[in-house]
Amino acid sequence: MKKQKVKQAFALVLCLAMMLIAASGCAKTTTANQSASPSPTQQTASDKQEITDMLGNKVTIPKTIKKVYCTSPIGTYIIYTIAPDRLIGWNSKMSDEANQYINESYRNLPALGGTMGGQNSFNTEEIIKLNPDIILDFAYNGEVSDMVTQLSKQSGIPVVTLDSSLAKTPEAYRLLGKILGVEDRGTALADYAQKTLDKVSSSVAKVPDSEKLRIYYVESADGLKTDGTDSMHTEVINFVNATNVVTMDTSSSGKGTSVSMEQVVNWNPDVIIANSQMGGNEFLKTVYNNKTWSSISAVKNKRIYVPASLPFNWIDRPPCIARILGAEWLANKLYPNYANFDLKSDVKAFYKLFYNVDITDAQAESLLNTTSGIS
């Protein structure tokens, strides 16, 4: 009996000890924070500046920013185009095909993970170890991920949040130019982006309603996953004055929303755009021999397009700066009579200016040709 009492007491003590350790750990941290917080502001006040990010948050960041961690490829790719030397890593490993268009010194940057698809794969300690000056996050419709807020809280590294919508790309470039101290570069890219977007929207504006095309966006090899008009993934379709047949709510995280074959037949889209990142090439290989799909007008008229994806996808996944070129390309594919651009020279100019690679005519053609439905 006595022994049992001892045992019980022991277990209780253990339980309490665990709680105490936990509690004291917390207490210690708070005092540590208090004692540590005044010092950085005193010694480095002049090295800091306050900026307003695209969500209207006032953020205090270092004046010189040498290292940036981006929480998703949207951010990583925009930094790669404006100031690649500030990148501390990709979010996932770049493929060999993509690496053809990536400058050699950045091909082997580590893959640090990110918050893509509603799941976070970054390692908090690893990010703190790499010690970036800011965390760059992109939000669509102003929605910020809890995981990013948490990372910033834990690491003490400020988060700058930009707007990922296509039309705000020039603004994002200007702000980044200012933050990173590369204003000339930022302005150059912003101007090019603005000019291209203006060119595209003014030409597609002339398309009469009667000629507006109805688009279905394919995000799986069987063609039955898609995203609707409300999604961050289909902005280019809306931008080029086409109608996405999918108007229902679709999930923006994860891998697209499932729909039924009968529903697709019922929608009967004029054009299908298939994303090669999401099984689009496999879809294209089989769709023309598929009896069910053959009744759909886009398939009958062979109007299925797979946008180029190197080094970054032109349309979506991720919805990044390559969409500037993607919008131009899609407008031309859909409405060649209204949006008649010299695509080959624009592709070369875009790759030179944004990615700093000289591509040959053959490469430009092959990028444009991955897009043709019939080969």
């Binding site: 022994k3 045992k7 277990a11 253990l14 665990m18 750990g25 917390c26 540590a32 809280k153």
Partner: protein
């Protein structure tokens, strides 16, 4: 199924002989040292290298309350990232395996665990439901707890109505699987209904969670339900022995089995749902750790329960150390426990099979 009971050592005569044997003190002392050793080792592990002498110095300075002489970054890594995560790992591991051990005793069934009984799936559904309806974070916890309890109640009453003593072990496991997939389906419906820009990522984050972004806030959130669930189980743990003999014997010994069972189930479910709130659904721990512990200390709940807590805490902490140190990016914790747990479960089944023949 008799063989499985044998694995768990629940034959009454065996139990009495074991129960009367004094618990081996050195074994318990060694088990108590395990989580402490794991805690200290984990302090030194991480992607952010902190040299051992510096680590020791920081700890000593902190304990003595001396001024900080090390860079702020070190402080952040240690106190905002690493220690909260270690503490949560310990608590989640202890909670899951203690509740697993308690469930196994109360249901007289060595094959059950929080996930098999549906407690995890029920709690997950409750959380998703609460998030969808804009509950506060306390509200989310309570709803998760309530639905976890509801799921266990479903499993228990349905299976006892069905089995009437026949094949009870198997039927409880099968009913649990049904309840579990039912609640998972409800969760999927909620995810389908949720606003994709706002609620859905929050629900996904909650369900998949992991210990990835554990902060002091999570530690504080865990401590209270952890204590509320753990203390009654510790105090009542010898009565679980009596419950596991069977209704008749327990009543003969003057134990109010009904009340006892309810208290133990409530405490265990609270531990489960609180763990899920912190770390998302982590399978297998609640099943394999009590079994491993039984192999070491025997089936007497007086020692089995605390030993399970100690082993579980150590196990989950070590697995999480792997998750956070091996690669540049994180490996989800649930994947690792499944890789370790599934083969162990198969081993249990094989053990059972070989003794049938």
């Amino acid at each position: 199924m008799r063989v499985l009971e044998k694995t768990a050592g629940t034959s009454p005569s065996q139990k009495f002989s074991r129960a009367n044997r004094p618990p081996k003190l050195p074994v318990m002392a060694a088990l108590a040292l395990l989580p402490i050793a794991a805690f200290l080792a984990s302090l030194a592990l991480g992607r952010f290298g902190i040299p051992l002498p510096q680590l020791v110095k920081i700890i000593i300075y902190k304990i003595l309350g001396l001024a900080q002489t090390w860079p702020d970054t070190l402080d952040k890594v240690l106190f905002n990232v690493r220690i909260p995560r270690i503490l949560c790992g310990l608590m989640v591991g202890a909670a899951l395996s203690t509740s697993g051990a308690a469930y196994q005793g109360v249901f007289k069934n060595p094959m059950v665990s929080p996930d098999i009984l549906g407690a995890s799936a029920g709690a997950g559904f409750g959380a998703a439901f609460a998030i969808l309806n804009n509950f506060s974070s306390l509200g989310i916890q309570l709803t998760a707890f309530f639905f976890g309890l509801l799921a266990v109640a479903f499993t228990y009453f349905l299976s006892s109505a069905m089995s009437r003593g026949l094949n009870a072990v198997l039927i409880l496991v099968l009913t649990g699987m049904v309840v579990q997939s039912l609640f998972s389906a409800f969760t999927s419906i909620i995810k389908y209904e949720a606003d994709p820009n706002n609620k859905l990522p929050e629900i996904t984050f909650w369900l998949m969670g992991g210990l990835t972004s554990t902060t002091q806030k999570e530690v504080m959130m865990m401590i209270i339900p952890f204590a509320i669930g753990m203390i009654p189980l510790f105090l009542l743990r010898w009565k679980i022995n009596i419950l596991s003999f069977g209704e008749e014997e327990a009543k003969g010994l003057g134990v109010d089995t009904g009340k006892m069972r309810i208290i133990i189930i409530i405490s265990s479910t609270l531990l489960t749902s609180a763990s899920i709130a912190i770390s998302g659904m982590i399978g297998w721990v609640g099943l394999i750790i009590p079994h491993l512990t039984r192999l070491i200390v025997g089936p007497n709940y007086k020692t089995l329960l605390p030993a399970s807590a100690l082993m579980g805490a150590t196990f989950l902490l070590l697995v999480d150390d792997v998750a956070r140190t091996v690669f540049v990016t994180e490996i989800p914790l649930g994947i690792l426990t499944a890789v370790l747990g599934a083969p162990f479960f198969l081993y249990l089944l094989f053990q059972g099979r070989s003794s049938w023949e």
